[in-house]
Symmetry: C2
Subunit: 410 residues, 2 copies
């Protein structure tokens, strides 16, 4: 057997197990503690898989909730159990890092609808003994946040020191600040938007149609059929990945460079490096992510329109809030643009909130929030330091800046 | 049988017939007149399907070649034989229109690799009695242009008064001007680029992978199998279509408006108008276009890099040219940007060419070149009028501006 196929099958099997037996802490809410969902139904039982880093202090005032993006998960700063790669925000979270685990207690949950242990379409539906598939009610950003609040209650934390996250994670930050203003001391929404634009919805719809076009999708019942819509999910990921990088970054990184050849082959092979790169992004993604989960999380973003819940006024969502905000955008991000962040800032200002806004000059596009962007890292550190002083948190014990990523080569 | 299915099957069948029995003029070049292709092989026999509008004058000095874009065809100003819709540039070409058929003789060919009668992957390969499929050599923009030159020779035309086209059509314009400078009096490249960027290639690659992921693609042999990769081609079209419209235009046209409902359905239905619109773009496209042709024309664009044939200097491609150029871009076009047009203009200036450059303010994105954009229409008319005077062409007989689209409601 082809060794590559074996590895792929092993990771796919691991991915499926992760949905019900995650390598994470887990809390299970029973039938008596249902999640009331925006779809108008209750979800119970509900499992939430989460990770923590650092130590919760005695008065439980140093907790930072990190919310993950579309295909992220709770493995923020520890190795991913399937890919074995470092956590997706290792650059930001850890001892001596801006989100300093010597000082803060960091919590991250897999979102409802995800596939890494929190109840999602790949989880076993106890009512049927089969995976939920599309029987799981549609999930909204607010549902994700309400589930997180159940976990925070369970941990006995009244007020989060900070809620932080980029992209879909930033939407959760905004929803937290709007839904639970008294429980959020500081909020750090990064590279995000208060609603999905028409173009945002369009790209997500292409991805969903690519998945549903794959005959192995089986109307969402592929896990029972023992197949997987690998090709459809891969195409969806490729299309999405283009939106994560700026035109300039693609041009400077790949341009028209050929992949391991001197001249084009006059064929449909991956002649260009960018083609090879995209194909790799597609095929590696399917080993760690569930296709139905992709449908759910993209739909959650599309439905997100925070102002709509406040009579169309985003300012009303934040009216009178005591939360201190730091809004961060990246100038070359064309998925969630600087203009989208500015709209959030305007609403916060109109709502009377304390807000700082940092629009970072970079050519790395949307994915900049995952990368070593010195100004972004310094901004996060500075915002949290100031908030921590205001919150009366002591400096980190034994903290050292020598580990900070500014001084590292990535 | 579902009436919609019947219509779809009828148009699909019509589309397949169109590849070998087009509703167009046709010229067939035999084995003695092969097309020497960039792939290093010769293509013979070669059929070119084309349309003409207006009358060629006695000294054959009033011919305008209109080159079509990716999925366009030779039906510039007359009804499309499959969709029955008006030609794709009816707004620009016709009696009294800017490309005035009372004054000019307009020629348009289906490109090599297309599916409307010119030899392409859906055409019957006389050597095998089966459709070419992927046995057709890869086609480049230069191959398309060289085939057009064979037709122009056949028509006895030495010098074209103008070569005009948008998008992939504009690439052909640039290639014509570079390959045959003495045969092009005026050139009008619109909303185009002298090479495909990394992001351009990336979007095309997503489309190709979507097609190839469809099991009905059958490694390109679907016509013999009696199936069609409808879903894959539809997804490819949806992804591409996003790039044809600006973010602003999508937002003002569709925003987050729901499709025929008051509230979201909490399902994966096309709740949003933009979803419905994109799905329609996808499904209607497959009735008129061949999936393998889509692979070929996208690849031709990806391979296009005019400067590469001139030692990396675009200026050398145009050195000493006598052709007068008008380069047109649209400010909200993010597929082939203003910057890409400016690069062409810089090269033309460096090559000593006569060039005017018009960057049109519009929010309609790349597709603006197909729409009623008054400044663009006036620019085209003005450029051609001035060139016609320089060429000594008499004013149009019986021409009237009352038909000009500026005064119409689209």
């Amino acid at each position: 057997m082809d060794a590559r196929v074996t590895v792929a099958q092993t990771t796919k099997a691991a991915s499926q197990r992760e949905a019900d037996e995650p390598h994470s802490l887990v809390v299970r809410f029973g039938l008596d503690q249902p999640l009331a969902m925006d779809a108008g139904v209750s979800l119970a039982p509900l499992t939430i898989a989460y990770q923590t880093y650092g130590t919760l202090n005695a008065d439980k005032s140093n907790a930072i909730l990190v919310c993950h993006a579309l295909t992220g998960d709770q493995h923020v700063a520890s190795d991913h159990p399937i890919t074995k790669k470092p956590g997706w925000w290792w650059i930001m979270v850890g001892p001596g890092r801006p989100i300093d685990t010597n000082r803060y207690f960091v919590i991250s949950t897999n979102v409802v609808g995800g596939c890494m242990g929190t109840t999602g379409p790949a989880s076993l539906n106890p009512a049927t003994g089969r995976p939920y598939g599309l029987d799981l009610p549609l999930v909204t950003i607010r549902d994700m946040v309400n589930a997180q609040a159940m976990l925070i209650d369970h941990l006995g934390i009244e007020t989060l020191f900070c809620v932080a996250g980029g992209s879909m994670g930033g939407m959760q930050v905004l929803q937290w600040a709007a839904s639970f203003p008294s429980r959020v001391f500081a909020a750090l929404p990064i590279a995000t938007a208060a609603k999905h634009s028409s173009q945002n919805i369009a790209f997500h719809e292409v991805g969903r149609q690519a998945i549903m076009a794959d005959p192995n999708w089986c109307q969402g019942r592929y896990l029972e059929e023992g197949v997987f819509p690998t090709k459809g999910l891969s195409v969806a990921r490729m299309a999405a990945h283009i939106t994560y990088m700026s035109d300039e970054a693609l041009q400077s990184k790949f341009g028209r460079k050929l992949q391991g050849r001197e001249a084009p082959t006059f064929s449909f092979d991956a002649d260009f490096q960018i083609e090879n790169y995209l194909r790799h992004q597609g095929t590696s993604f399917v080993d760690r992510f569930d296709a139905n989960s992709y449908l759910y999380v993209t739909r959650a973003c599309d439905y997100f329109d925070l102002a709509a819940d406040y009579g169309g006024s985003l300012a009303l969502a934040f009216k009178g809030t005591k939360t201190r905000f730091c809004v961060v955008s990246f100038q070359s991000d064309w998925l969630y643009t600087t203009a989208a962040s500015r709209a959030i800032v305007h609403a916060l200002n109109a709502g009377g909130a304390s807000v700082s806004f940092v629009d970072i000059e970079t050519d790395r596009g949307h994915d900049a929030f995952l990368l070593n962007e010195p100004e972004f890292i310094a901004t996060t550190r500075g915002f949290l330091d100031a908030a921590a002083r205001a919150r009366g948190l002591p400096p980190a014990k034994g903290s050292s800046r020598t580990e900070s990523p500014e001084e590292e080569t990535l």
